[in-house]
């Protein structure tokens, strides 16, 4: 199987996943219909799996050498993580959200077939690259939502409409997002050991990833310790996202980043 069939694969899995999301939302009215949602979801996963395995076979190597190939893996694992989160936490929108992200990644491969051959430098050609990036994308996505929830909570507080549900949602997002942030740090460290010889080099990107992680750590402990300190906790959560953004985009503009190994 090669990239020529990919547009069909894409259309098929998108349709199946889309149907799954639709059913999951509709099934809120009719719980028994939910089983159809699972079926559609797993059918979509099966299509992607068959394509990846087929491509693997035809290339005679794991498809992990080009950016297009790595996007294939994002498109495979994002829905899976979203599905898990939905099953565990009944957060249907996380499923929808992660499927949307997967479709965007896979869509780039359809619209821009040229990029399939775009080179990945040797250090990036690692089995750890994909898990590292996937868990980070997922963590960032959830933590972005937690920041919105924090702002909502602060707004609610100001207008006297504060709801405990908002707070619970924020905590939930952070616990899940923080778990994935931790996975991302550790996968990155293990990859660093294999590629660059050490698991921690105090590279500016690493430093900011650590700072991001610490701020969410602080949030968790403030919440666990003094659940009455709602306002400071929500401010911490909103601020944490600013640190996250610096880590994501801003690092390259800091004086500390001259000569960073993270060029992406």
């Amino acid at each position: 199987m090669t990239w020529t069939v990919f547009p069909t694969v894409f259309a098929l899995s998108t349709a199946l996943w889309g149907a799954a999301v639709a059913v999951v939302y509709l099934a809120r009215l009719k719980p028994r219909a939910e089983i159809l949602g699972h079926l559609f979801f797993w059918a979509g996963m099966a299509v992607m799996t068959i394509f990846i395995l087929g491509l693997w076979g035809s290339l005679d190597r794991p498809p992990m050498r080009t950016l297009g190939e790595t996007r294939l893996w994002y498109g495979f694992f994002m829905p899976l993580i979203g599905y898990l989160t939905w099953r565990r936490w009944q957060l249907a929108w996380v499923l929808a959200y992660s499927i949307l992200m997967a479709v965007v990644f896979l869509g780039i491969n359809v619209l821009n077939p040229d990029v399939h051959d775009r080179a990945l430098m040797p250090a990036l050609q690692s089995v750890w690259f994909v898990p590292h990036v996937i868990v980070y994308i997922f963590a960032y996505a959830l933590l972005a939502v937690s920041a919105i929830v924090a702002v909502k909570a602060l707004y609610e507080g100001r207008s006297g409409q504060f709801r405990l549900k908002t707070l619970t949602l924020a905590d939930n997002m952070v616990y899940i997002g923080f778990a994935f942030l931790t996975l991302g740090l550790i996968f990155g460290a293990i990859w660093g050991k294999e590629a660059w010889g050490h698991y921690w080099n105090w590279d500016p990107k690493e430093v900011w990833a650590l700072l991001t992680w610490i701020v969410y750590l602080a949030y968790i402990h403030i919440r666990a310790h003094r659940s009455d300190l709602v306002r400071p906790a929500m401010w911490t959560l909103a601020l944490a996202f600013v640190v996250l953004m610096v880590c994501w985009f801003g690092v390259n503009y800091l004086p500390s980043a001259q000569g960073s190994i993270h060029t992406y």
Partner: protein, 466 residues
Amino acid sequence: MEPFTSNGRKNRIKPRKTVWLFPWGYTEAFLIAAALLLVGFALEWVTPGDGLSAPSWPWNGVIWVVLLLIPLLLHITMPQNPIVRWMSQVPASMGAIAAVTFSVLLMGLFLQGQPSGIGWMDRLGLSRMASSWPFLLSISWFLFVLVMTTIRRSIPFRGRNIGFLLNHLGLWIVIAGGILGSGDLLRVTMTLSEGQTVWYGTDRDGRTVELPLALELHRFHMEEYPPKMGVLSHETGGLIIRGEQDLVEIERGRKGHMSGWDYEILQFFAESARIEDRFEPLHDIGAAPAAQIRAVHAERGDTVTGWITCGSFNMKHQFLELEEGRAMAMTVPQSKRYMSLARLYTQSGDNRMIDIEVNHPYSAEGWKLYQFSYDDRFGKWSPISIIEAIRDPWLPVVYTGFIMMLLGAVYLFWLGKDIGTELTQNTDEVDSAPDAQDSPGSSGSATNEKEVSGQPAEARLKTEIS
């Protein structure tokens, strides 16, 4: 069950407490954190040098044990001492976390590893925070508080604390193991040339380190991606790139349009040599890729045909002049993968061919061998290959911590907000000592009740946040 209820009125009704009067809380925590940083910077100021480094075996092992023993002894001998209790609670943790965050923030803001040239900044250690006193003091305090917390929650052990233990002890093991282990970390580079046997490496200070293994380079091997081509502007000296179509991978038969010219790639050789005014395929040292291009100006219709090459260390590059100030040029191909094929000899008598590739280190005799570098003037024809040999005997310790934290993360994902409930139930038991109720720092004051003083939790929070 709603875990996020307030921890009760009592804290807020209580009159403000004087600093340093027991029980301690956040104020004391932040004062101590600030004091540690100040002392650290002061030490840095009065003891100029190139920074601290961890002691090597056995002293790092001794420190490891001491770091565990002191908190254990404190916990066993005086568990009810207010300072001992305070050190295992969130306020002290937040102070320690803040101090570490501050030093890491400095690391994240200033360029590390080379002096800034600004006298006072370098003297304070701001350009090498990771080996500075303020960082050492804050991370030591952090580790101390972390292990105090872990001990208080883990002795006696209860099954439901497993997630807590995995996260907190795992993190402690990773940080303590990483920092102390750096005292035994050896990193040396071996420069290999074909046919020579090398059994030593050079460390960063230029010292020679003898190794229990030897490498004989058989061949350095590199695969490259096809080169790309684009239109060069002689004024700027750079390629004119406005979009995807302006820098394309070279392959035979490719047609396209860039900067006003329609082109066709008539021939392409990945390795070739110049013979008079043309190129012929040739596999030999110094061979370079070459392509024959025909370009037709889209409006004027004038045609140019000729060869381009990016050249190599012994072949000059060649452009195809299109018009005044514009030429078609080839970029140097990027490496796809590179590796050393070498024979490995070990002290234990092993003798075999191995390959060492980027991202695929080879382990032997307690060392890991990494493809590190090559002579980039020669590119794929590099006559030498540089291997980095690394010995990190503490790696299993750090990886044990990683595994614990991975499991801890899974636990966190799976239990999510329920953990909060668990905390409150748990600390109720731990903090049932008589003094627990007045301690603002004590998490024991967190309750699980939905209502405190007759007010529903939600309504109460509404008043608090607004």
